[in-house]
């Protein structure tokens, strides 16, 4: 029991005394969150650079001798895997989950701080193992982020030897790291909420993170199982996924395995993974929108239900990624139906975000701009999802740039818009300083307009039938010359958007030193994290006494209140109680 934080007391069990214990081997959730965040952003910048290299090749083929077809496939694979797993999952749950859960529910720390610390260090090891694959013979795997067998482990695919092994090992370590962190998040939410913080008073950020973590805990095992089995196919010659085949003129020892079985396992993880990324983003954007529109979130209960329903349904839609695998039409019909059903709670959320803005006192701050930007990008990405969810429409569009454009809009750009919104929103709490508003707005417009310049034309390329993952298009009659011009335009836009992220980095780091002091609660927010005695919050978060919660997190614009917001830890007045009885 030593490693369990007693959130009712000031926790002396892991009180940091030295630089090492305070900043390196720290068990403080805030430090661990920042460690997660910095590592994820570092590795994300590598993935961003890889996408720049890919775009250079696509926009200006033959112009860059240092990019050969193998390199290109390796860039594609590593870009995808890093962005989905090592950046988005790690930053949203490891970063924001760690930082916000204890603060938003009024706890002093995670319930298992030691495990939490281990979680980060395992994550770091997984990143190091992944990046090591750039330096081994053959380089990293180029099998695509889905790592489909048999090609992932056969000669002819870049990195089929060391690259794929390191990728699988890295994923296994990441899953261990995520599980340690995830167990902490769910247990903390269920067990360490402060007095008065009922589940239905939790901010939607916590609902999103909590549900996404449950999804992760149940979905990552599928990736682990498939990684273990593929590793055995690769190293010990088993035939779980490997069929009998001839490779480079040679009969291999494999026999009878099923590559489709791997696809089922992979997507049983892969589709919930979309929501592991999306649900925390849904939650955080709800809080940013309500705070900066000075209005309570529209349909709170419906938002919670939608999060839970989306989480549950996300386990029943995986095979819509496999329509072209030759499945039974009845199977395809089932998954098309569940896919369309999951659009209903998702659409409810979009409507509620828009209705939260309706007649709100909208403050066009930088976080708000990114949050509104998210509504646009997510709606567009979601609508193309309706196309791809239908079997008959998916078949011709499968493996074209339409799919690339769709998933980048819905689970690339959209969560990243929320991540920027969240970073700008919580930056004053994190650092005690304000960022440069002007630079933030410049960053927003470059990012928002730039992403449309990239992905809108990409949909059109997909309609033309331009295939994804190709190093060069060669001479295909159905692709007009204008497609190449479009590709050049996309590349230039992508490079501009990529470089514009330097504005963000500059703003974040320079504001640390030069930013104006943020003071307490600069946005006038109601949730608990802004009510700490110190900004940034100190170890233990709450000083000698834990906060008491009296109300939900969305009391904005309450009639008769002194200000246009009432924090969660402010007692309910008699007039409010009377009004409540009246309403009930």
């Amino acid at each position: 029991m030593q490693n369990v934080a007693i959130a009712d007391q000031i926790d002396e069990l892991h009180d940091p005394q030295t630089f090492i214990t305070k900043y390196i081997w720290s068990q403080d959730h805030k430090v661990i969150a920042i460690q997660y965040g910095l590592t994820a952003i570092f590795v994300g910048l590598i993935a961003l650079a890889l996408s720049g290299l890919m775009r250079l090749q696509l926009g200006f083929p033959d112009a860059f001798d240092f990019i050969n077809p193998s390199d290109y496939l390796q860039f594609v694979t590593m870009h995808g895997m890093i962005m989905v797993i090592y950046l988005l999952t790690a930053l949203l749950l490891g970063g924001f989950g760690n930082y916000l859960i204890p603060l938003m529910i009024g706890a002093r720390d995670m319930v298992f701080p030691f495990l939490n610390m281990l979680s980060y260090w395992f994550y770091l090891v997984s990143v190091i193992v992944l990046l090591t694959s750039f330096f081994v013979p053959g380089g990293p795997t180029g099998a695509g982020w889905t790592l489909y067998p048999p090609q992932a482990i056969l000669p002819g695919t870049p990195g089929y030897d060391w690259g794929i092994i390191l990728m699988l090992v890295s994923l296994a370590i990441f899953i261990v790291a995520f599980t340690m962190g995830g167990l902490n998040y769910v247990t903390t939410v269920l067990q360490a909420r402060t007095h008065g913080m009922t589940l239905m008073r939790m901010p939607l950020t916590i609902w999103g993170i909590f549900t996404a973590t449950v999804l992760g805990l149940l979905a990552f095992p599928a990736l682990l199982v498939s990684a273990i089995m593929m590793m055995l196919d690769k190293t010990l010659g088993t035939s779980f996924f490997m069929p009998a085949l001839v490779s480079l003129g040679e009969n291999l020892d494999y026999s009878g395995g099923s590559p489709i079985l791997f696809q089922h396992l992979f997507w049983f993880f892969g589709h919930p993974e979309v929501y592991i990324v999306a649900l925390p983003a849904f939650g955080m954007v709800s809080d940013v929108l309500a705070t900066h529109a000075r209005k309570s979130i529209f349909g709170y209960r419906m938002m919670v239900w939608a999060i839970v329903v989306i989480g549950g349904l996300s386990f029943f839609v995986w095979a819509h990624h496999m329509y072209v695998s030759g499945m039974d039409p009845a199977f395809g019909f089932f998954f098309a139906t569940t896919t369309l059903i999951i659009a209903v709670p998702t659409a409810i959320k979009v409507y509620n975000w828009v209705l939260t803005l309706w007649k709100g006192n909208i403050q066009l701050t930088v976080p708000m701009l990114f949050a509104i930007g998210f509504i646009f990008t997510f709606t567009h990405g979601g609508l193309t999802g309706l196309f791809l969810g239908n079997v008959t429409i998916d078949l011709p569009l499968s493996d074209t740039y339409f799919v690339v454009a769709h998933f980048h809009m819905v689970m690339g750009v959209s969560p990243i818009m929320v991540l920027f919104a969240a970073i700008y929103h919580w930056y004053p709490l994190l650092t005690g300083k304000m960022f440069d508003e002007r630079l933030g707005k410049i960053h927003f417009w470059f990012t928002f307009l730039g992403t449309y310049a990239i992905y809108l034309p990409m949909h059109y390329l997909g309609f033309l039938g331009v295939p994804r993952r190709y190093f060069a298009m060669g001479s295909m009659d159905f692709i007009p010359d204008s497609a190449q011009t479009l590709n050049q335009s996309i590349t230039i836009s992508a490079l501009i958007v990529g470089f514009s992220q330097l504005i963000f980095l500059y703003n974040v780091f320079v504001s640390l030193r030069n930013g104006k002091p943020a003071g307490h609660n600069p946005w006038g927010a109601t949730s608990l994290e802004w009510q700490t005695p110190d900004v940034p919050p100190r170890h233990g978060n709450w000083g000698p006494k834990l906060p008491q919660v009296y109300r939900w997190a969305y009391d904005y614009g309450v009639p008769g209140a002194k200000e246009d917001f009432i924090p969660q830890n402010h007692p309910v007045t008699d007039s409010e109680r009377t009004a409540g009885e009246h309403d009930a």
């Binding site: 030593q2 167990l183 009922t198 199982v225 088993t238 309910v572």
Partner: protein, 226 residues
Amino acid sequence: MNVLRMLRDKPWLHAAEAATVAQYGGPDPVAAMRVMLRFILAIVGVIFFLFIITFLARSQYPDFQALAGAPWQPFTDPSRLWFNTALLACASLAIQMGLGGTRHGKLNVTVAGISAAVFFTVLFLIAQFDLWLHLQSMGFYMNGNPANSYFYLLTAVHGLHLIGGLLVLSNVVFRVWYDNDAASLTAPLKLCTTYWHFLLGVWLVLFAILTARPETINALAAMCGF
């Protein structure tokens, strides 16, 4: 807690505030551990569930040869596996006995129970490893047939979970020894006991699946739609 009722709460109304405040107390370390264990069991359950589903799917390919049924198959006579199962059952019983000791304040019973549990668990692992050697001596190598592959894989994963349990159990015992407080053993030992029983249950399912005859496997696979 009634989840459905909770999900119908209207948090924007303040009339019911007093009742809901009283409902949620501060954190309890034992309860936190219990919640974590439930999630761990769910995760371990999902892992084995997925392995078994892939086993059933893979069993429907023509190269799959079940390890029981024909006289020359190793588990047509599963007596060695029954022996191993008895070892794990003894471990489960012993740890339960140890837990009973803590509840009645009998430290010697607790020590004996935990020691026996560790002994039987280690013996089970050694016996499983010996079975691997036996299978190899009979020519049933890991890459010989998918049924062999699954046997080695599933027993290895199960064994690793037991080793993990042993590490946690040793940590619990060490801390009790360090704190010199036997009473503090009850709650963590209860969680360890639950974990041991769970792994015994998992093993029984694995035992049944891995030693099933082809017709049984085919029937199960058909029920799953394969």
